[in-house]
Symmetry: C2
Subunit: 332 residues, 2 copies
């Protein structure tokens, strides 16, 4: 009984900047956790090697022995994933990754059943099972950081669509003639309300000669501006920064109003680095949703911050494996 | 056995122009069908009276006796409906209807269990059970007519959200600074790709002095232009009309691409009067979806025309009652 209760999932969050590997119990408890740099510019092969090593080291660190102690491996990754086939078809944060069968590569290397899941879908599942969305039937999760990702929970289960790539909320076009997005299209929610959208808008307006304390915060190096810089300046009352946050919040509100009208969800959970702005971002976002969405669904949908922080992906990937969804797993 | 097989649902499609009442068998067969005018301008009370009469007459016509022959009443209506409570909260086509508890009014008047369902949701269910969407797990239904409505089927079941008002796809904002919609907001899909959007755009451009055979088709009376007029002129090669159809198709494609990225559905079914344009509308719409949505889900999602025509609503409302969804029904 004790032995079976202690069985872990080896959960990986493969991001553009870092790889988090962890051993996670079915309770959601993390018994071992390891960071390494992705160094994505080196291309798929070295990244896959680092990912394998991180898994192996996490196993050793947590004193886990193959198969008896480990339920399987769950890899959460950004990008358009064919989760049925375990393939990363394309990923904005992993340059050079085209149709990489990551699931099968890892399963074969490590001799463990492996699952691949979109990182925002994993975070949605994590927040639903042990974060801000506990006990709710229908919720939409959004991660707002450099980009915008999404995950959908319907009737308490992850909704993943025909190929397993549902939830690309960040690429919902809300301003057809808007600015170009990282995906190549124009006017996506991500191009208007993400951290990189705020950065780009700041640089654009500063280059037009507008004044802002942002310039001092980055010592004149505009290329160093991040959403955090904008946030800091806005907190200090800088007018340009406040304007940029308000603009992003309004677009985020339009995107969420669309989701409220389409899904009539009980809850919208906002995670990701930009959500750390808290009510400075979320209060005007909520206001926009109330003004734009129909009254009945707008009254129902609570909009709250995520609770699991940077652990959402690994906890969700672990949940995904523990619940052993029949599709998407690859036996070693 | 024969008796139980012959039990009917009294299905109503309450539209802004007409009321269709029908007796429908569990096979989807319509054994009796009756039209009456809604005369919506007279306000809720007379419309509710006409609706009751239409139901009673349909029962008589089909020789149905209360309760033994009738499973219940299913009312499909346009608008934002609280289907859990059986209330029409607001409806674009029914002026003056605010929080009308239509389900309970009809249940009490006619002494039959009654259900209320959004008309596009009903059509989605109808098309899924006996139309273009048979056997598909996940589909999105859109009705494109004067307005644009939507219905969502997930895992073979109608997805209705927390209050039962999910599926308001027509009010997805895709052009934040676009034209005003009938709902009061700006840049909704309905304001850009519906029949009324095509009409409005035609009138605007003709008033700017552009030439078109549309003018002859309506004998100079621009207020008589409908989407059908535009369609007819486009078929005859009129350049303005072709342009207007292409523009609407492109916006429809943007809306569908958003849905493809969010839902990764197997199928999108397009019904409603404007869908009668066929490939003149749908070919450029499909092209836009392929260009805008991510490759993987775009390759999967087939976009087809609905099959049930104006019967979709009553067949779907009947299916809804036959499947006796526990929520939303009101025992007499």
């Amino acid at each position: 009984m004790l032995a079976s209760r202690r069985r872990s999932v080896l959960a990986i969050d493969l991001g553009g900047t870092k790889i988090i590997a962890a051993a996670v119990l079915s309770t959601g408890e993390i018994i071992s956790r390891k960071y390494s740099l992705t160094l994505a510019d080196e291309g798929p092969r070295p990244v896959i090697n680092r990912l394998s090593s991180a898994v192996a080291e996490t196993m050793a660190q947590a004193k886990l022995k193959t198969s008896s102690d480990v339920v399987g491996i769950g890899i959460a990754a950004a990008g358009i994933l064919d989760t049925n086939e375990g393939i990363i078809t394309t990923s904005p944060n992993l340059p050079g990754w085209r149709d990489v069968p990551l699931r099968d590569i890892i399963a074969e290397r490590l001799g463990l059943t492996t699952y691949l899941i979109n990182d925002a879908s994993a975070a949605a599942l994590g927040e639903h099972r042990s974060g801000a969305g506990k006990g709710v039937d229908n919720l939409i999760y959004l991660t707002v950081s450099t980009g915008i990702g999404g995950g959908i929970i319907i009737d308490g289960e992850l909704y993943s669509g025909a190929d397993g790539c549902a939830g690309e909320i960040g690429h919902m076009i809300i301003e057809t003639h808007g600015p170009q997005c990282n995906c190549g299209k124009f006017g996506c929610l991500e191009a208007l309300a993400s951290g990189s959208a705020m950065t780009r808008e700041s640089v654009r307006r500063l280059n037009q000669g507008e004044k802002s304390s942002i310039v001092e915060l980055v010592a004149g190096r505009l290329e160093s501006i991040t959403a955090e810089t904008v946030s800091l300046a806005a907190r200090q009352g800088d007018s340009l920064a406040c304007d940029i946050v308000a603009r992003a919040a309004n677009y985020l509100g339009i995107g969420l109003a669309n989701l409220v009208n389409i899904f009539n969800p009980e809850l919208i959970v906002i995670g990701g680095g930009v959500s750390k702005m808290g009510n400075m971002l979320l209060a005007p976002t909520r206001k926009a949703v109330r003004e734009i969405a129909f009254k009945l669904p707008a009254r129902t949908a609570r909009i709250v911050r995520a609770r699991l922080g940077s652990n959402a992906g690994i906890i969700g990937a672990a949940v995904y494996v523990f619940e052993q969804q029949p599709k998407g797993g690859r036996k070693a």
